[in-house]
Symmetry: C2
Subunit: 171 residues, 2 copies
Amino acid sequence: MGKKIATVITDMFEDVEYTSPADAFKEAGHEVVTIEKEKGKEVTGKNKEATVTIDYGIDEVNPSDFDALFIPGGFSPDQLRADDRFVKFTKHFMDEKKPVFAICHGPQLLITAKTLEGRDATGYKSIQVDMEYAGANVADKEVVVCQNQLVTSRQPDDIPAFNRESLNVLA
Amino acid sequence: MGKKIATVITDMFEDVEYTSPADAFKEAGHEVVTIEKEKGKEVTGKNKEATVTIDYGIDEVNPSDFDALFIPGGFSPDQLRADDRFVKFTKHFMDEKKPVFAICHGPQLLITAKTLEGRDATGYKSIQVDMEYAGANVADKEVVVCQNQLVTSRQPDDIPAFNRESLNVLA
């Protein structure tokens, strides 16, 4: 059974941190739904290698309609968390223990949603101290899976492990 | 007496958060010295409105040779804090209670240097929860001055207050 994966994304995402997991999810039969402020907008990765057309504006979606959350990295998550609607949306998945996949700077949204306390996780080097302060048990590993629910990775090199463990949690 | 102000900066800084304070510091007779990984490199703001030629590479400078530290915002501070040399450089100014001026995302370097515990400060909306977790007393104000040493502001709109209070601390 394919799952419906909400993907929160805006400009300056780390290109391959969206394209590779999204392709892997789709190949496994899951649905990837992109969400930003505005439906139909085109957002562009920071390396200008990928452009994504937004499926839904944040005001048009209800997190209850999705099975999982995917947060690609780059400078996208920091911009999204300046908007309380994306923080609230993120919090739903963590509170309900639905699968959450966050890579690189993705965990920044989890910090702002105050959902990392006591959780095992990793993230891009620059945010690891932020994550520790937020109460996470941070490991400098290619992928960390916490309670078969939260999958986090550090950087593009970690994508194969990130995709593998994310698909395992969805299975 | 003019002061020597170390400025840590890299690509995608918030253009006006460098140019306006730097101009104000220079007009008041202070010296602004730009520091990145490599001397002579040109770094460009995220709005492509400003380009800065780097005066010194981080390995060529000793923080003891400077009177104050200036950290412009944008996506520059997050990139710099992924390099331990910039974190250590920043820590010197906080430990020695030398003047530190950080705007927008600038306080991210202060978090990673673990120097915000118990300090009054502000920052860009997206990093305010990070700062609270790091132990700062965060106020949503245009400028916060802590112990006549640490000056922080939130965003470009706050620049007049940021410049005014920074110059007061240097006086």
